[in-house]
Amino acid sequence: MTSFRIDGGTLIDRDDVREFTFNGERLRGFGGDTVASALLANGRQLVGRSFKYHRPRGILTAGAAEPNALLTIGRDGRRDPNTRATMAELFDGLEARSQNCWPNVDFDIGAMNGLLGPLLGAGFYYKTFMWPAAFWEKVYEPLIRKAAGLGRASYDPDPGSYEKCWAHCDVLVIGAGPAGLAAALTAGRAGARVIIADEGAQLGGGMLAEGGMIGNKPADAVLADMVGELHALPNVEVKKRTTVFGAYDDQVFAAVEQVQKHLSDAAINPDRAMERLWRIVAKQVILATGAEERPIVFGGNDRPGVMTAGAMRTYLNAFGVAPGKQVALFANNNQAYQTAMDLEARGIEVAAIIDPRKCPDIDYGGKARLIAGAMVRDTAGRKAIKSIAVRHDDGRDEMIAVDALAVSGGYSPIVHLACHRGARPVWSDEHVGFMPPENCDGMVPAGAVAGKAGIASCFVAGATAAVSVLNALGLNAAPAGLPDTQTADDIAQGTVAIWSVPSSKGKAFVDYQNDVTAGDINLAMREGYDHVELAKRYTTNGMATDQGKTSNVNAIGILAQNKGVSPGAIGTTTFRPFYTPVSFGALVGASKGFEFQPVRKSPLHGWAERNGAKFVETGLWYRSSWFPKDGETFWRDSVDREVMNVRENVGICDVSTLGKIEIFGADAAEFLNRVYCNAFLKLPVGKARYGIMLREDGLVYDDGTTSCLAENHYFMTTTTALAAGVLTHLEFCAQVLWPDLDVRLASATDQWAQMAIAGPRARDVLAKIIDDDISNDAFPFLAARDVSMFGGRLTGRLFRISFSGELAYEIAVPAGYGESVADAIMVAGKEFDIAPYGTEALGVMRIEKGHVTHAEINGTVTPADLGMGRMVSAKKDDFIGRVMNMREGLVDPMRPALVGIKPKSLADKFATGSHILKIGDEVSLANDQGYVTSMCYSPNLGHAIGLALVKGGPERYGEEVVIWNGLAGTSITGILCNPAFVDPENEKLHA
């Protein structure tokens, strides 16, 4: 190890040596290190380059707010760009690379951008790329796109799995610093169900950086006791490495847990998720998220070696890493002096403490020289800080040689979650920061987020907050006995606002990640973008992965200072989820690949597979599409054969996916009469009827048949696509529109395996397995009733209905028996050359017959448009859609209406979606006559046929038109005709 690794370090295990690479260089760290602490321990202050100017950047923080040290970690599918080195745990074999630099981080050609700095100020691309206009698309945009973004995502699939979980608790404690721990202990001891979540690998928050004593015990021992007790409580769930990133309505909080991302490849369990997205439902919430230490805006404040005072203390005490050999502290508050004390206690020279306050109210007993009333004006150094320029209160400048500078500009409470639901934070002059909203909407802030400083007061605040939420839950509780904090320090911060150092000459950065300087904020103001939301967007301050955690308040302070108002008058930008970046993997969870969505399988799926079906996804369903036979290499070979076989012999088709709804109740008939536009009140027992449902706007919603199986018992079928939608619609009608009607609805889609048996020999086949008389007299068209099958061993529901236009039945049997019955039908039909047919053949036959599906029922048509206007009852008092269906626009005779269409030259083909034009008309919207809704090749007719919605509809049978396909750039001559290409007299249906 290097001389930067010193004794101590409560988080690291020196027996656990871990090797890793940084930009290809092999380095070593310890178990417990973060990548940032390991890099610092190896003397690597320069870790990356800034976004715009490619300036050398080091490590600014020790936590989630890090704007600089964004690295690409891992390789291939496990490569994660923009990973905060301060949050990434070191594992053996880790590969880390700097971003935004070429050829390397030490020598980056992009740094030449720095020379163009005067041209690259805020809003430069709004002003610069104005002309010539032709350059925009060809030159400027590609250049800007190439320069945009940080890091590169992997093109390789992520081999890890992800998942989403739900959790419930009485009390959710967000943050496991001293306030959070005290709150969780108090609530846990009281018996509440507690979840405590913290983004860190270890619980403790600010306590992890404590190097001293709490009461009479070392801080790390106190912490270990508290954490140990929490783990021992069965009603407390401890979630480490878990960032609560969003607060949503109804007390639902989203959190992402790093389950295995911190492990080496060898240690990863492939059966566990890499990350877990939690949805946590909490009755009460304690917000113990702490406060973010602010940098100070002065010249060269981004030079590697400059870091926040708290971060420096963390690296020192928790990781045993010295930030440098000669360190200075620039701070406007008392709390930061702890860093100087700890540095000196470790034997590191503190060259000076520069405090802008003329008379800081603190009794600093260290050796460091205190320069009061002064400020750091600038820094010097090429790739790391070498010296600082201090401006004394008398105007005198002094150069001080340092290799690290700790800065502290005060503390910003981490109020994000308290504001995600719309509340605004409140400015506090006392705390020089934005505090949580007064009404935190179900959250109780505790600890540093509420302006407390020091472990003692945070313990008390956490315990007190827990008591208040426990009382709200009806639990009597008192603050749990907490560690002896009488001797613990409870510092009054005494912060004095310093938004920027006025005498700075170098670039003074407000937002490190976006290279936004104080000058940029000032420029935005001068150009009129002085509203905080406008200034953000004009300068990009507060954007990108860190969302301005270290920059927003300073930017607001500068705006306020320039306008001569309080930062409270400027206000903040809007806080929105996510608090920190969340991987797409976590958001997607398990829904990828085969698990992208559930699959629904028909009860005849196995039967179809055994018969060689090719399946097609229809929503979630897998439907058998066609059944190729030996020698059939093209889908049309199979489909044409299946169609012809049905027309000439008999076929069997799985129609189980159609929606099926059982309707019970004394008022079921009246109910149906109101939801369908045609009459249903007098549908007799044993009969089916085709029905059309309208929407309230008078347009067709869905169609299907409904059969009366018994008095007060009906069986409705819907289209596959709208099975759930229709049931929802009916439930709404029953519960909301007509609660007085006695109607009950049950989905029965999955209960029945349903098969269409179609073709001239359909009756012959079914008669072999159905015991009842199904002759045309005994079971005529639209008959529907239960039938005995297989000698009384099974009861099925038989419907004499036809979608193909052939003599056809649909037989429904309990789903478990579906495969056996289908097998039986195949055996029974063998002598009649039965063959299975799929949805493609079904589609061809329904077009040949002129039957509509949702290709035609597309949300724009009325029953009249579909040639079924006479079905709409004129006698019924009311039904859904009645009034609106009579609107002027919906009864216009020139509305597009259903027609058949065929090519004039029978060898021609056309496509669905083609538009219809009059012969000789120019192609224009004004001349558009309609469009083709469905098209197929009819093996019966030997040419292409289609259905179309055309202005004037049936009035134009026989008219020659142009079928124009704009996509393919083709047009042919077609003839409009009756849509019933096959059996227009319906003789087959009644055979």
Binding site: E163, K164, C165, W166, A167, H168, R193, N269, P270, D271, A273, R279, V281, A590, S591, F594, E595, Q597, P598, V599, R600, K601, S602, P603, G606, W621, E662, F664, G665, A666, H713, Q735, D742, R744, L745, A746, S747, A748, T749, D750, Q751, W752, I769, D771, F790, G791, L794, T795, P814, A815, G816, Y817, G818, E819, S820, V821, D823, A824, V827, A828
Partner: protein, 189 residues
């Protein structure tokens, strides 16, 4: 053809009865009945009404046994372990008073059981309801979702749940549950 062999095929026909060595045991239920009892919606879950209905069921079909599981206000699944013929179902449906209707869902709703000490952790990966035993006790049921699949979850015991799902989703749910349980059952667990 009248004597053609008829087999009642479960969607879990090819699924094993569970991993004997796994910490989480997932097993299909291949027998029994599921009847959907439809009463008038009252807007609330009425325990008294349910108790009356249970007594009525016991009187009408004492041979069936089984229990009522709340599906929604005024609706229940009547679930039991005995197989019930179509004819017997018809008899039972015919004896119910008019205020109730009965729909046979035995083939449409299939069941499986998930058991093991970490079963709540497994189900929390897909189920949004609070499965804490103090909230969702033994004998309680809820219509909910497992991932994207709608299902009824019933607590049979402290560490045992029965899941009732639409038959068409059975295959997907089976695989999803195994995926969810993998970290407890897999070779690396």
């Amino acid at each position: 053809m009248r004597d053609f062999p008829l087999n009642n095929v479960s969607p879990f026909a090819t699924m094993p009865d569970g991993q004997a060595h796994g910490a989480i045991h997932i097993a299909p239920v291949r027998t029994g009945f599921v009847f959907h009892v439809l009463g008038q919606a009252t807007g609330t879950i009425d325990q008294t009404r349910q108790q009356q209905l249970q007594k009525m069921m016991d009187a009408i079909a004492p041979d069936l046994g089984g229990e009522l599981r709340v599906l929604s206000p005024g609706q229940w699944f009547w679930v039991g372990e005995n197989d019930v013929s179509q004819g017997r179902f018809g008899e039972i449906a015919g004896q119910l008073p008019g205020e109730f209707a009965l729909s046979d869902q035995t083939h449409g709703r299939v069941r499986l059981r998930v058991t093991g000490a970490r079963v709540c952790d497994v189900l929390a990966k897909g189920v949004m309801i609070d499965l804490d035993e103090g909230i969702f006790g033994v004998g309680q049921s809820a219509m909910t979702q497992i991932g994207h699949i709608g299902a009824m979850v019933t607590r049979l015991d402290r560490d045992s749940f029965e899941i009732t799902v639409l038959r068409s989703f059975a295959d997907s749910l089976w695989h999803e549950l195994h995926h969810m349980a993998a970290e407890f059952n897999g070779p690396h667990s």
